[in-house]
Symmetry: C2
Subunit: 200 residues, 2 copies
Amino acid sequence: MSFPLSSFSFQDFPKSALSQLDKVGLELALSEAKLGYSEGGIPIGSVILRFTEEFEQRVRASRSVEGRSEDLSLRDQDVEVLGKGHNLRLQKGSPTLHGEISALENAGRLKAAVYEKCTLYTTLSPCSMCTGATLLYKIPRVVIGENTTFMGDEELLRQRGVEVVVVDDSSCKSLMTKFIEEKPEEWNEDIGELPGTTTS
Amino acid sequence: MSFPLSSFSFQDFPKSALSQLDKVGLELALSEAKLGYSEGGIPIGSVILRFTEEFEQRVRASRSVEGRSEDLSLRDQDVEVLGKGHNLRLQKGSPTLHGEISALENAGRLKAAVYEKCTLYTTLSPCSMCTGATLLYKIPRVVIGENTTFMGDEELLRQRGVEVVVVDDSSCKSLMTKFIEEKPEEWNEDIGELPGTTTS
Ligand SMILES: [Ca+2]
Ligand SMILES: [Ca+2]
Ligand SMILES: [Zn+2]
Ligand SMILES: [Zn+2]
C-alpha cells in the first residue's frame, strides 16, 4: 500500500487538512517543550507526524472522483504520531538528545519510505545536527515554532529541497526567552557557543 | 589555562605528533567498529581525542625556546580520549546512535572550548546527521577511515572550514564491505535509503 511521495506530495493534500496537521504538530511540540521546562530542562520540543495511509487513500479517492478534495476535514484518527521528544541535555547529561533527535529516537527504526511522508515539528529552528538528521532521513517538511531566539541551519534545509515553514509562534518564543534569561550558560553549551569553561 | 584554538591551531603541533595521534585515533575507532560487528551491529566506530593541555604546554614551551618542536614525541599520556562509541542501530533499535553520535554522547556534556581542540575519528565518511553534529560543536578536525563504501557530507564539512583527512584504510573498507554484503537492508535503513518496506 506504500507509494513514493514523489507521486503524491504534500501539495496534493487539502490545504485545510495540512493546516490542521500543522496546528496539531506545533501544539504537541510545544507541550513537549513545556514538559522539558517543568523537568528543569532546555524547553525545546519536537514531534514527527504523518497523515495515516487511510486518510491518504481518502484524499486520493476524493481527488480521482471530484478533481478536488478541499472539503475533506482531518479527524483525530487521521494523524499518526510517529515520535515525540524534548531536549534532555540537563536531565540526562546528554549532548545529542536535542528535541528533534529525541523525537527521532522515540520513533525508533523506520524505513526510508516512512520518513518521506513525515513532517517534523520543532519549537525552535533546528541546529546543524538536527538539520543533518532531517537530511539523513529525507524528511520532506519541517515546521518551526520560531527562529528569533536561535537561527539554526534552515537555509541548508531549503537548499537541499526540504519545505520549511516558520510559524513565528509567540508561545514558543516566550518560553525560550524565559529559559535563556534563567540559564544562559546551559543554553550556550547546548548550541556549542562560547563563553564557557572547560569541564576537564 | 584554556586559550582559543585560533591562537594555537593543529598546525602548531609537531607533524609527527599529529600523525601519531591520528594513528591512535583511527585504531581506536576501528576497534569500536569491530566491537559493533561482534555484537551483530553495523560496524562503524568513532572516537574523540585531543592532546592533553600538558602536551600543548610542552609544545608551546618548545616553540618559544627553539622555534621548532618537531622533536617532541607523543607519549600515551599525552592523548586524552574524550569519548568513543559505535553504531547501535541494531543493538538498541536506535536510529540516531551512529558511531559519531555515540562517541559524542559517551563524551558527555562539554563546553565549546573543549570541542574546539578535538579531532573526531570515524571509520566511515560521516552522514549528514553526524556532519551536522560536528558542525554544531565546531569540532575543527575530522579523520575518516574510508569513503568508498559510503560518501557522507564531507564536502559540507570542508565548506564550513573543518579540516577533513581521508585515510582510505583497507581494514575499515573490508569490514564495511563484508557487513553490507551480509545485511544490505539494515545498511540501507541506516543511511535512509530505499529500497525497504515500511514498518507500520
Ligand atoms: Ca575530561
Ligand atoms: Ca507505526
Ligand atoms: Zn539540534
Ligand atoms: Zn551518521
